[in-house]
Symmetry: C2
Subunit: 339 residues, 2 copies
């Protein structure tokens, strides 16, 4: 039975709603699924106070004390190296040692990315582990790979992103034969910057993916591809503009609704329907953003995550393990012949 358990190390101290919502989400996940086992890393007393609020199978949630915390604005690599007693470092180390299958944190993205590489380590042959969040589209979700911190990527990195992204979308999200596209400024093959022009033929020649060519940013929200490949700078711009623009537009809609008496009455009538439609435009039901290509799974959830997102991330870890994603990645990635 221990064999089928998914063992997840969770950073109890990361994000805006820690430890309350983190602990709540962990309890919800464990109560819903008999095969999830969690180690909560953080200030033992604070975490235990939260746990005492709930009923749960105590043999499946343990608390590990971690006295230090890494803040959002600390230089990540230095923080990982120095703060040996932080929840991120201690949690990631259990993945490295193999006593946990996955690590989930709502804390500093930079520290999670740096720690994932430094402490967990890459699968042999993987040049760079990308951060691959799901973004909502008109028709569902798309995987945006890479949104990490490693900028100035090479074409070979992007090809690996495409392969790992396709595996993830097919096995974890359940999209059969996912359409892979590269972000470009036009749809013709000769368009693009040097990186895209060099990567395009490599993706075209790639046997294991359903490459459909270039995608313009305009088509991303329409669901024009399932796996959207780009280097991290562009991915970061897309991800953050998505968040910012959605916020601004919905604020504008709200401003319109509140601008006249007539519209205020209308607003009351439309609210439930609008809320339920907009809820569909949300990718958090699928969990957080995985860092792909590491020896274990590392998941970054949004800093403002509530218990539901934490619970979804734990379910994501379970699917990731059950679907043997890392075995599939190892199988598909060509190990470079270089030294």
């Amino acid at each position: 039975m221990q064999k089928d358990m998914v063992r997840v190390a969770v950073d109890a101290m990361g994000g805006d709603n820690a430890p309350e919502q983190i602990v709540k989400g962990v309890v919800e996940a464990v109560n819903e699924s008999a095969d999830i086992q969690v180690s909560l890393f953080g200030l033992e007393d604070a975490v235990k106070v939260e746990l005492q609020k709930y009923t749960y199978p105590s043999e499946r949630i343990t608390v590990v004390n971690a006295a230090e915390s890494i803040s959002m604005d600390e230089p990540p690599v230095m923080a990982i190296r120095r703060k040996k007693d932080s929840s991120i470092v201690k949690g990631l180390q259990t993945v490295r040692e193999g006593t946990a299958d996955a690590f989930v944190s709502a804390g500093s993205s930079g520290a999670i990315l740096a720690g994932g590489q430094l402490l967990v380590g890459r699968i042999k042959g993987i040049e760079r582990p990308p951060l691959a969040p799901l973004i909502p589209t008109e028709s569902g979700v798309s995987l945006l790979v890479d949104c990490g911190a490693n900028v100035d990527a090479r074409p070979s990195h992007l090809v690996q992103f495409a392969k790992m992204g396709a595996i993830y979308m097919e096995s974890v999200v359940g999209i059969k034969n996912p359409r892979v596209a590269i972000v470009n400024i036009g749809t013709e093959e000769e368009k693009g910057n040097m990186l895209v022009k060099e990567t395009f033929p490599l993706l075209k020649a790639c046997p294991n993916i359903n490459f459909i060519g270039s995608i313009e940013a305009r088509e991303i929200p329409h669901g024009g591809a399932d796996v959207i490949v780009c280097e991290a700078f562009v991915g970061n711009v897309i991800l953050k503009l998505y968040e910012g623009l959605a916020g601004t537009l919905l604020a504008k809609v709200k401003e319109g609704l509140m601008s006249t008496l007539r519209s205020k009455i209308g607003a009351v009538l439309i609210k439930p329907a609008l809320k339920s439609t907009m809820k569909g435009f949300d990718a958090s039901q699928y969990g957080g953003a995985p860092l792909l290509g590491l020896k274990g799974l590392v998941v970054k959830v949004h800093g403002n995550s509530k218990s539901t997102e934490v619970k979804n991330a734990l379910n994501q870890c379970r699917t990731f393990k059950q679907q043997n994603i890392n075995e599939k990645i190892k199988q598909y990635i060509d190990v470079p012949t270089a030294t």
Copy 2:
């Protein structure tokens, strides 16, 4: 009097609504402003049929026959070289010759960008003319520079974009001491890809601009800066994602409004207020996207432009000339000492 006239060459055949809406917009502009004079380039008969619908001072609108047209999917440079009798080539040539101050087109972006450089030519010292559209924000508009077709920019290009963008925002849009920022994946100075890291200190040292540092894409819709500097690939992604995501979100809102009887009744009540608020989230009142740093003004208006956008672009040409933008650019740009 001829001296104060703004002489604009207009591509009567470009875009989805040509020649009807183009001609209509030209007539509206000329009727509103006594100092705008237009040459309409296109199929003479078709243009004249449209003109006959209106009353206007005939001495200020002339028609120049141009038998060829350049389509959206033609390789731009080749089209500009070969189609000597196209509305774009003939119109741009009048700017080159100095018989027009500006050229306005809703046609192929690629052809307009290529033609601007090849036929009109750059101001001495300008390394690259950027395409600089205005994008709507919560608080007004921001200039996004560069969204053109010249990717893989160098730091010195971005510095020139910043200077020209600041001049444009101050003189044409009327923003005093506009805040200039560079698109980045974090706000700390050490963040970014190689291009941004190299450009940052150059912008910081630049005496003539109000450089406020990095801007994350999330802050762009919030109006975090007035002039948003980036290389063309990133600019293109931002511009197109803006369009695509706004379309998708508004479609989602509509879907929500139409989903129940109750919400349908509410929709009728909110419609006028919502429409007027969303109208504020629109940059087209400022005209089209200028190609900055050329010896004359070249303006690309959206392919689906209606008469109002065309009229606004003609007013933009007038402000551009009245404010002596090109003289200001010449003054501020340091002429490189290279050969």
